[in-house]
Symmetry: C2
Subunit: 598 residues, 2 copies
């Protein structure tokens, strides 16, 4: 078999294939394969697509063990802790008793005053574990290792995944231009690198709210989102069972998990922003760090002095975290406790290797408010906090807007890169217009593709339900696919090595009417196949040299193929034959109209 | 009632309102209104949205009389010929017997050898009409009038629609930087201007194929597409009843209609490209011009010498017209008959005021083929043809790609503007990646927004079915909405006068929790309302100061509003109050962390 090695990213090594998996895969068009690293257990998963012409294409894959029929998964047991040996072998962490889980962690302080989880069935039933943290005074972060010149197994893993050398990965992390969010308490996660030098990443948000949805739904949304390509998932739950939902999500997630601890802290004070304290917040961060959250959004840039800058805005403060902190600052007329305790927070995050995602609490919520004084004042503070975090060896990325018309997007990434010393930018959209509720995956997908081309490292997806309701399963899929398109379009525009090979493989299949290959190479094979079959359902249509759009007589690609066939067997022959005819034509004058004076 | 005059484009005049329509409209949130021009019958339709705060917003509207409950429409009768008096009054056209309609015009030459339409019911039953053309030697085009300094009623109409002065419209047309496609035989159409100085336009393609769909479906798709905002519609039918379908579409269309005459010409020679002749093509152009087609795609830039340039392409020639002409050139080893007879074609088009859309038959069909030699060789020829067309007073726009990665898009518009003397660019997408069949409305919507920002005048929509099948009703709507988003995002980025007022009105409604106003101002009110109700269906939720995403406790905008309410009644008061607090804070040192050396 010719294994034409086209992949995104292309690995320099061929994936190993158990013959069983490969043989089974050929019948359905693809199978899960692995590229082996330098040590046992370091295996990078890929999606191996088998083309009908005998070639194969290797694609990037974030779907975890769920898509490997040879792995027996069970959400009640959780995923195997693939990084555990690596973490333990470093010898710089220790297990400890950890913070006891309290009823209020699940937001049931008042309805169940005697304590205890109301629904014991919901407690995650997997193997018991003790939390782990860095030994006294140890920063156990990938940033600390990278700065010391160490290439960790995690770095090697992402190097294979991204088709770059491990040294490039180490350098980018050491310089603060990339992060590898990998809490020592989330050993189930497959390492993921986020930085402008690498493939553009996509985050999918999940999470219940006070109004609707359940634990089961959120775990299902997480595996569903990663199946379609989400590179990280944020659990933004604000309703009941917030701690327990997160535990289920973490134990079953093959990708890094992010949260906004402020949401849970606010639940613990019954939604009264003014009752928040540093102690409650800190306790919540430790609770989540012990569970294994890989990165946390911290709105420490919303300073008291900036709140008045939002007074004349059209839509005020639209970040939940931002508005909570603004309310707290005003209620107490004090500086933000997050800003004041930022160094202490760094020490906590360093002990677990939790990555900062410095939140943009003052991001614009409308076209009218884009790039205003409040937004950029906060950005300058995020630059200051980024430098502090790096002093503590804490990995850091910076969150970005929001709602920004196209002509104001570039200023955002340029300023962020300058102020934050090229720390990874993690943007929500941006939405390029406000007039299309129900289509904000598209209004924002446009802005996302552009800002990613210009340097954003990770895109936070937006679903069709944005501004209207909670996304369901279909919305999650639509959001992820839209953002994978934006990310891949940016990878192409940035000239990421290997990115275009995927497009080329699909274009070849299209020109050669290999319909099944087009489907299997598509970002969403199911929908591509379904749309094709809607008009031309019969099986022979899958091998037809035309489609329903133009019918057999009008198919441009068929005519184009016929031209090649009739005028020479190969591209070289046709070119020579046509060049000859072309020369004859040129000799005969070559033009009909006389040149027109300009 | 405060009639806050926010519209896109904003007219300087308030629309007149029959009290009946306005009163009826208030109950459903909007009604169809008209802005009166300088002469009787010159009434520019708008969508007047009535907000719950007593204000109203006037939006651009292409939906035609169908959305006016006071107009009695009947597709069997056709629309009223609103431009007829203007055309007749100019006195430069004449009615004539016209070309007899033949059975082969409907593609039924062989199955019905004795002539006559097979399905007589399909013949359009509206008022009999004779075709009209310019009197001997008269170019009856808007370009000719503009160059003579005349401001036609059509120009005044679009000036009101676009909120610019009629003189600006005349200048842009006279300079060839804008076109106003308005065949004298399509008096039913509402004038539409296409040029970079104006709102970005969106074209929707309809048309049956040899494989599927009917006349009724196509007429329905046309009215459906304009209801959602299509500014022009191209009928690309290639199947049965091609002439009759077009007649129904034209007589019922409130927007300009475009076609590709080559498709019908090819039907007349049974799909055998080599049997095409200039005579058959010319006859088809006259047939369609007599029916009233407003603009025609002509692939005259596909020259024999360029065909070999496509030999090493990944996807060859993907334009139907381009591949047909390439096949003809190669079969005869002769220069294209379209190129050779271009001046004669100009004379025909000038007599009806049919606008050229010079087709890009060699546009790239894959990321790999973008911006290649074949594509740009043809573009240079289109520049040459544009100058010839203008010599004949024929309005001209230039078609553009195709499949282009983001970093290669700007070169396309810049070159086109330079080579074609700023003639309106009319682009298909471009698609920014090939890996997402079933989502090519999104892969291309990204490129469309960018190229429109940079100067493209009209965008040809792409539906989710692109590359897979024929679009159904839902696909047409999704394609139009996606492209209206791209177009409006570009209008915003270009700073089009009044464009942002629409966003601002919706943002205000969002911040003030006026849910009904958000729905009525949305590009797609139905889907916005449906998505909201999916999570929070109860009627009280329409006035709730929160939504299902965050629930009542977490709503950032509610908190933001609370801050304003608690800390001062008005924006000015809160700003002053907070500025005072802010000053106090500043005086006390204003920062927690000492400045960090860079």
């Amino acid at each position: 078999m010719t294994n034409k090695d086209t992949r995104t990213p292309a690995s320099t090594q061929n994936p190993t294939e158990t013959s069983e998996a490969a043989e089974a895969g050929k019948s359905i068009g693809w199978h899960k394969a692995y590229v082996e690293g330098s040590r046992p257990g370091l295996r990078v998963p890929v999606r191996q697509v088998h083309l009908t012409n005998g070639q194969s294409v290797t694609l990037y894959d974030t779907s975890g063990p769920y898509t490997d029929p040879l792995v027996d998964t069970d959400v009640r047991r959780g995923l195997a802790p693939l990084r555990e040996n690596w973490i333990v072998a470093r010898g710089d962490t220790e297990e400890y008793a950890g913070r006891p889980v309290r009823p209020e962690d699940d937001g049931i302080k008042h309805t169940s005053p005697r304590g205890g989880l109301r629904n014991l069935d919901a407690v995650f039933p997997g193997r018991p574990r003790l939390p782990r943290r860095g030994r006294e005074g140890k920063a156990v972060t990938q940033l600390a290792y990278a700065r010391r010149g160490e290439i960790t197994p995690e770095m090697e893993f992402v190097a294979i995944r991204e088709n770059v050398s491990p040294e490039v990965v180490r350098e980018e992390i050491a310089a603060g231009r990339a992060v590898l969010p990998a809490n020592v308490n989330h050993p189930e996660s497959e390492p993921m690198i986020i930085g402008k030098r690498f493939l553009v990443k996509v985050n999918a948000n999940i999470g219940n709210s006070a109004v609707t949805s359940s634990i089961e739904e959120e775990v299902e949304k997480m595996t569903w989102a990663t199946r379609w390509g989400a590179d990280t998932v944020m659990d933004l739950s604000t309703g009941r069972n917030i701690h327990t939902t997160r535990e289920w999500v973490l134990r079953n997630s093959p990708v890094p998990i992010g949260t906004v601890p402020l949401y849970q802290a606010l639940e613990k004070v019954d939604g009264k922003a003014e009752e928040l304290t540093w102690e409650i917040y800190k306790d919540t961060v430790i609770e989540q760090a012990e569970q294994g959250v890989d990165y946390m959004t911290v709105h420490a840039g919303v300073r008291l002095a900036y709140v008045p800058l939002t007074a004349n805005r059209k839509t005020g403060i639209v970040s939940r975290g931002g508005s909570i902190m603004a309310a707290w600052c005003l209620a107490h007329h004090k500086e933000s406790f997050l800003y004041e305790h930022f160094e202490e927070l760094c020490e906590i995050l360093a002990a677990y290797d939790v990555t900062y995602s410095l939140g943009d609490g003052l991001r614009p919520g409308s076209i009218a408010d884009a790039n205003d004084e409040a937004q950029f004042a906060e950005l300058r503070t995020l630059g200051e906090l980024n430098r502090i975090a790096k002093r503590h060896d804490v990995q850091t990325m910076i969150e970005g807007p929001g709602h920004v018309p196209m002509h104001k997007i570039k200023e955002n990434i340029d300023l962020q890169q300058e102020i934050c010393e090229e720390a990874p930018f993690y943007t929500l959209g941006p939405l390029t217009t406000d007039v299309a509720p129900a289509y904000d995956h598209i209004t924002s997908g446009i802005g996302a593709a552009m800002i990613a081309w210009w340097g954003t490292a990770m895109l936070c997806y937006v679903t069709p339900k944005e501004h209207l309701g909670l996304p369901n399963r279909d919305d999650v899929k639509t959001g992820v696919i839209t953002y994978k398109i934006a990310a891949h379009a940016a990878d192409l525009a940035k000239g990421h090595p290997g990115a275009q090979e995927w497009d080329d493989a699909l274009s070849d299949a299209r020109f050669e009417f290999r319909w099944e290959d087009q489907f299997n190479l598509a970002l969403d094979p199911d929908t591509a196949r379904e749309f094709h079959d809607e008009t031309l359902p019969a099986e022979p249509a899958k091998t037809a040299h035309f489609c329903s759009m133009c019918g057999p007589k009008f198919c441009s690609m068929k005519i184009s193929q016929d031209i090649r066939r009739e005028h020479g067997g190969s591209r070289t022959e046709i070119e020579e034959g046509m060049a000859q005819k072309s020369r004859e034509f040129a000799e005969a004058g070559n033009r009909v109209y006389l040149p027109i004076a300009d």
